[in-house]
């Protein structure tokens, strides 16, 4: 996040900006509302109603759109998109629309509370913030005194803006290396792939506005992308806002909304995108449709080559031509050869073209996640779509005020050197985190016993249940503190809950991501906290003050708001407040070979040359692994054991489980937002429930009727769901939506049962392992069978 880059590239620049896109949309006719709501008076006085529009930043998905919240008499009553926000330009997705149901949810935890009975018993006592913080400080101080500061761990989910550094700083100053991000379940794959090929450590951004051909490999562009609204409006623009209509092709085992709304859906056997991407590469290379100049001048490892020590190595070209022939790829992926050839041809000849990778390897990460992502990104290099208009561009970040230096005392220095709990950097050399590995390591007491665990926006019991292992791990840690806002399944096993305010009640910030250009979005309270809750940022600052010493000194701010103001003081604060965001609105594409180019290719390499060459053959991997075979440095595809159809497992559990976020699903809040539940499953018209999609073929074979209740059973567990016979699914795959089955008991609707759990959690079916090198989660695809209840 801190890779703030200067925008002073001198070379030939091409620029476009948000205003231009905005203007184009006005031409296309949808700008009406944008212009109009911009004119809304900020405060009006109509009758006795005191009305205001307050700008803040959404946190219901990783996009971070700008919101205009209508506040009447101190109550937030309606959310709109902020028309002055570059990401969403006045519109707002359905999750954003339901933000108020989060804010005013009856399921929220209203005071700090401590578990009085056994953990998980549900006997809680409400206590004051002072009491709660004292408890925490006593514990932390005690552990630090005993030289066990490293035995404190903090697991976190999505953290926004400065929060990530605040957390890292806190833990580092306190003396623990154990800040464990959930990233290894999600965005880690794309980030690693970018780094190992292109040499930059960021998540890719796709310039859909200018693309003529968009090919998504499972990435659910129109439902769950990380700049959701940006990509939605860009796709609309690509279709109807400009003279030439672009084409969107979605490759996925399940016909998601992206597939439905794409110009073409290419069904594929689950987990085999890597092979398809390589097969397409082979077609493109074979027919000489690739960008020969770009590949020759700005890539590495395309042809077979000799290294400095005159060892010969295989290049990408000969690998794909030899190993990824149409017939073989078709056999692996189940996509007909003519479709592969046609789509590959279209991709290469309708430039600018861009191949979109999923940010999440998800449940299908069958151990191939990294190489799949490398293969997909290789397609972008083949057609010269690296930092080009209509291709993959890079997210830039604004220059903010330097963090004040702070000194580590001896305790902190000692703690910092300890091995990480999750094995990142040790067990998994390339990993930034290995979230799913934590429960097992805690249970094994490896590398040392954990004495205290903090959960921040995080719910391992739900995400990686691993057959009860996560619960056991929590139970084994003597002191567990959760910042949960609702009684999620992990918080239920905590000792202490320090309830977090929701994003509508706190100060904070968010980086603008997904546009390329640098920017910051401001988060500010739209209403007074509804309950006796605090922002986790403020709580950490408070804890630091109470701990004092070097920890206290690392945090010279009185409040999180002050911290934000301080960090963002380089920006035009007035503009930030008035518009709800600040950004440069201009993206400069780097011309290959120009000075700016080295900033987009190779910048973050550690062990490989920063020579502005895109690595088909990953020199970074080569340096790290010193491998015997070239294959491990080239994008390739190994058929995972779970996919082979002749093992005993595959006969007993004939179906492959696909899950994939829905647009109607909000990562953290699914359990408690009624309106999301009431529009949950669009294709099958399912509300307030989980369903399992089975193909027509499978339904016939198993004599399953639409609407029937069934068990979906994997070797480790089973869950119930309602059958939906769906034409849009790979015949031997089944789909379960993620995000359901939360234990934040929902009591919605008339006379509904007191504690109703909505739907089922598909993660229960999965055994989460880790990729040996990257620490990324290996989650399947789980094999399942289905039978009536």
């Amino acid at each position: 996040m801190e890779n703030s880059q200067s925008q002073t590239q001198k070379s030939k620049l091409s620029r476009r900006d948000f205003l231009k896109i905005g203007a184009a949309t006005v031409v296309a006719g949808a700008g009406v509302s944008v212009v109009q709501s911009a004119k809304k008076p900020v405060v009006t006085q109509s009758g006795s109603l005191e009305e205001a529009i307050i700008k803040t930043t959404c946190a219901l998905c990783p996009s971070g759109c700008g919101l205009d919240v209508r506040v009447v008499n101190g109550k937030a009553v309606k959310v709109e998109g902020n028309p002055l926000h570059p990401l969403n330009q006045g519109v707002c997705c359905l999750k954003g629309q339901t933000a108020l149901e989060v804010l005013y949810s009856p399921e929220r935890i209203k005071h700090p509370r401590i578990q009085t009975g056994a953990r998980g018993s549900g006997d809680w006592k409400e206590i004051s913030w002072d009491e709660a913080l004292d408890l925490v400080v006593d514990k932390l101080a005690e552990l630090r005194e005993d030289g066990k500061s490293h035995s404190v761990a903090l697991m976190h989910g999505e953290l926004r803006g400065q929060m990530r550094q605040v957390v890292n700083r806190f833990m580092r100053a306190y003396g623990s290396p154990n800040v464990i991000s959930r990233e290894s379940l999600g965005e880690g794959t794309a980030r690693l792939a970018m780094w190992l090929s292109q040499g930059v450590n960021t998540i890719p951004v796709y310039d859909i506005n200018n693309a003529n051909y968009v090919l998504t490999f499972g990435g659910n562009l129109l439902e769950s992308s990380r700049n959701l609204i940006g990509y939605l409006s860009a796709t609309a623009f690509m279709r109807r806002g400009r003279p030439q209509r672009g084409k969107l092709v979605a490759v996925h085992p399940r016909l998601s909304l992206t597939g439905i709304k794409a110009d073409e859906w290419v069904p594929i056997r689950p987990g085999t995108y890597g092979a398809l991407a390589l097969g397409m590469a082979s077609v493109i290379i074979n027919s000489k449709l690739y960008d020969e100049d770009f590949v020759r001048d700005f890539t590495y490892g395309f042809e077979d080559f000799e290294d400095a020590e005159s060892n010969s190595h295989q290049g990408f070209k000969s690998l794909v031509l030899e190993s990824y022939t149409l017939d073989r790829v078709s056999a692996i992926t189940g996509v007909p050869t003519d479709v592969i050839a046609r789509v590959a041809g279209e991709f290469a000849t309708n430039r600018p073209a861009v191949a979109v990778l999923p940010t999440e390897p998800g449940e299908l990460s069958s151990g191939n996640a990294l190489h799949t992502a490398l293969a997909v990104h290789a397609l972008n290099a083949l057609v010269g779509s690296i930092d080009a208009q209509g291709g993959v561009i890079l997210q830039r970040f604004p220059e903010l005020t330097e963090w004040p230096a702070y000194a580590l005392d001896s305790d902190a220095r000692k703690g910092e050197k300890q091995e990480r709990l999750d094995g990142a950097g040790t067990q998994f050399p390339l990993a930034i985190s290995a979230y799913q590995n934590v429960p097992e390591r805690i249970l094994k007491g490896k590398p040392y016993p954990i004495e205290a665990l903090f959960l921040l926006n995080d719910n391992p019991v739900y995400d990686v249940p691993n057959g009860g292992q996560s619960v056991e791990a929590l139970m084994k840690v003597p002191f567990v503190v959760s910042f949960a806002s609702t009684l999620d399944e992990s918080a239920a096993h905590a000792d202490l809950i320090l309830p977090a305010s929701t994003f509508m009640e706190v100060w904070g910030d968010d980086y603008l991501e997904g546009t390329g250009y640098p920017g910051i979005s401001l988060r500010r309270p739209v209403v007074e906290p509804v309950h006796d809750t605090r922002a986790p940022g403020d709580v950490l600052l408070d804890l630091a003050q109470r701990l004092g010493g070097s920890v206290g000194k690392a945090f010279p701010w009185n409040s999180y708001k002050e911290l934000i103001e301080d960090r963002l003081s380089t920006l035009d604060w007035e503009k930030l407040e008035a518009n709800g965001n600040w950004s440069e609105l201009v993206y400069f594409n780097a011309e290959p070979g120009s000075p700016a180019w080295n900033d987009v290719v190779g910048r973050d390499r550690l062990n490989a040359p920063k020579d502005g060459r895109f690595d088909f053959f990953s020199r970074e991997l080569f340096a790290t692994l010193a491998p015997d075979s070239d294959l491990s440095c080239l994008p390739h595809f190994e058929i995972p054991t779970t996919l082979t159809d002749s093992t005993a497992d595959s006969i007993e559990y004939p179906f492959l489980l696909v899950t994939q976020p829905l647009i109607t699903q909000s990562q953290q809040w699914q359990g408690i937002v009624p309106t999301l539940q009431e529009s949950y499953g669009l294709q099958g018209n399912v509300k307030w429930d989980s369903w399992v999609e089975v193909s027509q073929k499978a339904a016939e074979a198993l004599h399953l009727e639409d609407g029937e209740r069934v068990w979906v059973e994997s070797p480790i567990n089973r869950v119930q769901a309602t059958v939906r016979v769906y034409a849009g699914i790979w015949p031997n795959a089944v789909y379960l939506p993620p995000g359901q089955g939360h234990h934040t008991f929902v009591r919605w609707g008339r006379k509904s049962k007191e504690n109703s759990i909505v739907g089922a959690n598909p993660n229960m079916l999965t055994k989460f392992d880790s990729e040996p090198l990257t620490g990324l989660a290996v989650a399947g695809p789980a094999r399942v069978r289905i039978y009536p209840v």
């Binding site: 709109e80 519109v91 009624p674 009431e678 109703s756």
Partner: protein, 228 residues
């Protein structure tokens, strides 16, 4: 005379259902809950309807966001025995919740299935009542009456008041319903169909334009633009 109408471009609609949610949050339609939703009693004035056709792998799915069509020849108005549902001078079809006797003739007669009945008195958990829109037009409807999309009349009233307060003449583009304002694909257009220069009236004459069940003679004022 103004004649409000809407155009929805199916090529730019991505089935995101933001319109559905925006409509609920703006118009205070109650949460139905699982049992009621399972009976089809969820009240979503602007449902997004999927029409899945074909067999694997040649599946063709049409997604249709469906507000009230505000028909010029509305079946609902025709059959209402007490004139509880009516068309106002600007062509918007509304329901007088104080007069409706709950006979549900209109729900049965509307070919577009856009009318919803309050089977029970609407309910929210107390905490959630905080976020209800305080505009008087959208006060929660009592049990036993029919309700539906109103083209967000409260917004029209407010836009007019605002124009008046600012001493300017009201302009058709001052008024945007909630679903149009939030539409992520910018697929929805709203405006005066009587003004030949308005965007909606131009789009309604596009060769891609069509209306649902045109053959029924209801003359909807909601137009769709074909996909592709």
């Amino acid at each position: 005379m103004l004649r409000w109408g809407m155009v929805i471009d199916l090529d730019k609609c991505f089935a995101c259902q933001s319109c559905t949610a925006a409509c609920r949050m703006e118009n205070n339609t109650p949460v139905a809950g699982k049992d009621q939703a399972d009976m089809g009693r969820a009240i979503l004035w602007n449902e997004v309807l999927p029409f899945v056709e074909g067999e694997y792998p040649n599946v063709h799915t049409t997604i249709l966001p469906r507000p009230c069509m505000h028909c010029d020849e509305p079946s609902c108005v025709k059959v209402c025995p007490v004139q509880a549902t009516f068309m106002n001078e600007e062509g918007t079809v509304l329901v007088n919740y104080d007069r409706c006797i709950g006979c549900r003739m209109c729900t049965v007669a509307c070919p577009y299935a856009v009318r919803y009945f309050n089977w029970y008195a609407p309910e929210w958990p107390d905490a959630l009542k905080e976020h209800l829109n305080p505009d008087p037009e959208v006060a929660p409807r009592p049990k036993g009456v029919v309700e539906k999309c109103t083209f967000c009349v409260q917004r029209l009233r407010k836009a007019r008041e605002e124009a008046e307060a600012e001493g300017r003449t009201f302009n058709a583009t001052d008024y945007t319903p909630a679903c149009v304002e939030t539409c992520t694909g910018r697929a929805r257009y709203f405006g005066d169909l009587n003004d030949p220069n308005s965007l909606v009236s131009k789009l309604s004459h596009s060769p891609r334009a069509f209306r649902m069940f045109e053959e029924l003679g209801t003359h909807p004022k909601v137009y769709y633009l074909k996909q592709g």
